[in-house]
Symmetry: C2
Subunit: 505 residues, 2 copies
């Protein structure tokens, strides 16, 4: 750009088109909301100084020509930016960047100052959660053609239009007034009501409104329960192998995390179990072995819990995704002794990014959990609670689950057929209703290495070692999920996986 | 309703209109989304059994007549319910309630079973957070004409159209694919970028992306920092009087919460301060006294923190709401010794119900905070992060703050003028940029009682006792906020408040 006699930046021929073209380099002409993209780019350029105070903008006609968009798009964008005081229009002269209000003081913290003295901070930490062993899913799993991972988002199954309808309804003025408030320790009563009416009955659970609390995903529920009940001397039992996040959460609070044996019927009862005061249990589909606890053991477990005063934390993490013959009611629906705290999730059925879970527990427990949650973060965002309440209330949740269930069941049928064919030297388990298989390779197989080799072939699986406190014991196993892989890709994926296993073994 | 020869429920004259009228009793004809309301009511009635399997629905014409809505509204609602399998249409016969899939098993937990044996649970809790002393705001404060409360939602200031624009943009398919994912310990990079570009510079803070983390409101940031740094032997200093939620959070983790004196320049330095390893500080506007820490003390505080290895948790809770002459840069922007962890909030400027806050800290600290947050709840909902990123990126945040700032400043000017007039026996403080006053009544005044009397006159204030560890010391003080009261109501509200104070004193 050049300057005119007043020192203003003016359009100056060839270089100008270059400047504007480069400014709008990332514009996605195929994308939606073109006008919004243009405004965002101009706002950013003003904020970061690429477009300084007084800079002259191209005419709407010129910018439209450079960007190859309709002139009207630019006109609307400019009008909005003028309303917002980012631009000013001068009659017969054009559009100019307006002055922004000054920021506070001249002081400005320099970024990155403390990175070098890492050790100074390390010595101050009460915990080092970054060193815990966790499930590792490649963040770019969506870029792989055959993602056999568990519990992630499948864009093909998201109820886009129905969610949009609910989200838009939550943007009416009365709805905004509902969700914009600080409810301190409360939740959206409409969502609690829908859980009572439509969600919990699917699992055989009836609950009063003071027996339910919403959480930032099921994991948050586990954290709150742990914080409420665990002292450093508490013995808490976890399934071995089991859910590593639960193990890590409990480990933050007590050194007495006790591994409890799992067999083909899930958690095994016995002295070790009876000596715990709390136990985390995944009866519906044991995590990670996917086995279903038989009804008789469920009753025995509840009986033992009641006799020994053990609190059972039932993690019904994918309870309702895929209705399948042979499923059994969760522990809480069978419990007559009030031994069970129930943890469920809406994130898995909808979208993990939404982070919506819940706890069902006796009212005195919910009262303390609410007080604790209030200290920690008050409540899960209320706008999402309201959208979810509308989504369920409009019947979308039920029809969505019906659709997801039939797609997942079809995938399971395909895998049931293909696994014996392509993984002849492996064994596997998958209980009724579970959306993953737990696959055991030949002893000695290192599935961490296997997962790497598979990934090079576009296949994502989850190595089993992390599920076990004893790292070695599940190293030859892996989790094979099918809630995120497109149905038509399963066959090619399993075939490739089979080849990698054969070559490795 | 009556049954026909096939046992089906049929319309049966007069009682029918009564039944349908009663079913739709709560229909809000003035409300938006009439068609959605009708669908929600029908879905609920099917789920709770008021409309049993096979029940015959009125014709669209009849229902439209009963509800006094357009027939087309009913036609669209019925079509959607047929698509969702809640209703079926039989040719020439009408619409009928379709069969819902069976719920799991027959077992059903009875609600309310454990309420009576409260004591059984009480003995198991590691903490009793419900017994902590907290700020109490009447939940129905919006129903009072003169709500002088702090930090709550003002429907008149919410940027409805701009928020809607951003929220709708986040419902495009590519955006859904962005936010629906589980990012494990990550945040939306677009929101981090907007904090760097537009939000933090307003406070004189520059930060790299690995020095920022999003939280479920500022309070969640305090909780995470506390959990990362505090062991039972940690001495953590809090301002006295100070923010009760911070005090309660720290008290969950250590018995050594040390009250530090506050004067008209905020937190006072000295031996007590120097013996702490962490200190929570509200330098911009001390909570609750609203005084501003002078620049010289800020530098002295930073110097002392650096010399003694004290970590300062700077809670900049309403830093940017109301730009006013005399404001000073936050500690973090002055800090050359990396002693400060900075906590900020977007909830106050937008809507508390959204729960969006953030931490700025050295990268090694953010790394551990992310690992801890991952254990606790993974990440704040990503759809809200994306909407906020769009809102800020489109320039709405800046123009919203400009508007809010000028409205709040006007309210402060009015109160500056009215308080001496109507509260002649009180004194008060309000530092530059603070959106509340800290009012001291005559010694001996009980502001808990005063608040009750005021509420009976429609005036809401916040009693001061809860801000102090020593309950008695601030009992004659109260907080008078003006971010939620309508400007034109201030005069009448202060007048009423003045009368109540005069009558009480």
């Amino acid at each position: 750009m050049q300057s005119d006699a007043d020192g203003r930046l003016t359009p100056g021929g060839g270089t100008d088109a270059l400047f504007w073209g480069s400014l709008f380099r990332d514009l996605d002409r195929e994308g939606s909301f073109l006008q919004l993209q243009i405004r965002q780019i101009i706002v950013s350029a003003i904020e970061n100084g690429r477009l300084p105070l007084g800079a002259r903008m191209p005419s709407s006609r010129d910018l439209a020509a450079v960007l190859k968009v309709s002139r009207n798009t630019i006109v609307i964008a400019y009008e909005q930016l003028i309303d917002q005081n980012f631009l000013i229009a001068r009659e017969r002269t054009g559009y100019f960047v307006a002055g922004l209000p000054k920021h506070i003081g001249a002081a400005a913290r320099e970024p990155g100052g403390a990175t070098r003295d890492d050790g100074r901070w390390t010595s101050r930490f009460a915990h080092r959660p970054s060193t815990y062993r966790n499930i590792v899913k490649p963040l770019d799993w969506q870029a792989h053609p055959y993602p056999f991972i568990f519990g992630q988002f499948d864009p093909g199954l998201f109820p886009t239009n129905d969610w949009r309808e609910s989200a838009r309804a939550a943007l009416s003025v009365p709805e905004i007034n509902n969700w914009a408030r600080d409810l301190i320790d409360g939740d959206d009563p409409a969502l609690i009501e829908q859980l009572q009416l439509q969600v919990l009955p699917r699992r055989g659970i009836r609950a009063r409104s003071d027996e339910i609390m919403i959480t930032i995903g099921a994991q948050h529920a586990l954290y709150l329960i742990a914080k409420l009940f665990i002292t450093p001397t508490t013995r808490i039992g976890v399934e071995e192998p089991g859910y590593p996040d639960a193990r890590n959460i409990f480990g933050l609070l007590t050194p007495n995390v006790v591994p409890l044996r799992v067999d083909s019927g899930g958690l095994v009862l016995g002295d070790e179990f009876e000596n715990c005061s709390l136990v985390h249990v995944t009866a519906s589909h044991q995590c990670p072995t996917a086995v279903v606890m038989p009804l008789a053991r469920r009753h025995a477990l509840l009986q033992a819990a009641q006799s020994h005063g053990i609190i059972l934390i039932e993690d019904d993490y994918d309870g309702e995704l895929m209705p399948e013959e042979g499923e059994l009611p969760p522990l809480m629906s069978l419990d007559r002794g009030s031994s069970v705290l129930y943890v469920g999730s809406l994130s898995k059925a909808l979208a993990p990014g939404l982070r919506l879970g819940y706890v069902v527990a006796p009212a005195p427990v919910i009262r303390e959990l609410r007080a604790l949650r209030r200290l920690m973060l008050r409540h899960p965002p209320l706008n999402n609670q309201r959208v979810a309440a509308l989504f369920i209330g409009l019947g979308h949740y039920r029809s969505h689950l019906a659709r997801v269930g039939s797609v997942l069941l079809e995938r399971a049928r395909i895998l049931d057929r293909l696994l014996p064919q392509h993984l002849p030297h492996c064994t596997w388990s998958r209980g009724a209703g579970s959306t993953h298989y737990w696959v055991s390779c030949r002893p000695g197989t290192d599935t961490v290495k296997l997962a790497e080799l598979a990934r090079a072939q576009g296949v994502v699986i989850e190595p089993g070692d992390v599920f076990s406190i004893d790292e070695g014991s599940a190293r030859h196993c892996f989790r094979l999920g099918f809630s995120s892989i497109r149905t038509e890709r399963i066959e090619a994926g399993v075939e490739r996986l089979g080849k990698v296993i054969t070559q490795t073994g």
